[in-house]
């Protein structure tokens, strides 16, 4: 069974540029999460989807961040414009349902904003 797939693995951009990250969850997993992980810290939830509906986006900085999960499968997280402080690892995870003991993580995308 394939795991959670994320691309790209690395991204370097200039500040004020837009950037997008893509996530393909494990087949059949209806819940998808985007986490932000700053260097040396634990992940923090940005947004959670149940199928195509964003059910928890309270931690998503909506002035510059947006996300979508069309058709309830793949998801894209976008930043526009990027700021220096956005440099971090962006992790995607998926689970079969709301139950918290089944979250599987992807390898993450390391973003560097210059």
């Amino acid at each position: 069974e394939a795991g959670v797939v994320q691309s790209p693995r690395y991204k370097i951009i200039e500040k004020k540029q837009p950037v997008a990250f893509w996530c393909n969850p494990i087949s059949g997993h209806n819940t998808l999460y985007w986490y932000l992980q700053n260097l040396g810290q634990g992940p923090e939830l940005l947004i959670r989807y149940e199928n195509e509906e964003a059910v928890d986006d309270s931690q998503l900085p909506k002035d510059r961040f947006s996300a979508e999960r069309l058709k309830g499968v793949d998801s894209t997280l976008k930043i526009q414009p990027a700021e220096l402080g956005d440099s971090a690892v962006y992790l995607c995870a998926s689970s079969l349902g709301l139950h918290p003991n089944e979250q599987f993580f992807g390898p993450g995308t390391r973003l560097t904003v210059l």
């Binding site: 059910v55 992790l91 390898p107």
Partner: protein, 114 residues
């Protein structure tokens, strides 16, 4: 609100020896789960072990076991017969059954010396 605290930024152990990583948490949930995740330099978050709060018996997974003290809100991870491949950042996390996100601690870097 949920909080997870790992008070040991770094730990080290000799190969084949035993090491214990500490974690305390706070939650208003009556039903919840606790997890230990391993994150090697490749960034892939790997679930090491999980504990259901309603179970009194401590979880074990091969060389990994936990000491769950519910009243003290303590959840430590013991790694027996440490191996070089155990070297990684370890995160303690807590998730409630009424919501999907995981709350992570700050992490503990484990070094294994040959």
């Amino acid at each position: 609100a949920q909080t997870v605290t790992q008070s040991q930024p770094e730990m080290s152990v000799q190969e084949a020896e035993t090491v214990t990583l500490s974690c305390t948490y706070d939650t208003s949930e009556s039903d919840y789960y606790l997890f230990w995740y391993k994150q090697p330099p490749s960034r892939q978050m790997i679930l090491v072990i999980r504990q259901e709060a309603y179970k009194q018996q401590n979880a074990t997974e091969n060389r990994f076991s936990v000491n769950f003290q519910k009243a003290a809100k303590s959840f430590s991870l013991k790694i027996s017969d440490s191996q070089l491949g155990d070297a990684a950042m370890y995160f303690c996390a807590q998730g409630g059954t009424s919501y999907g996100k995981l709350t992570f601690g700050q992490g503990t870097i484990l070094t294994v010396h040959p």
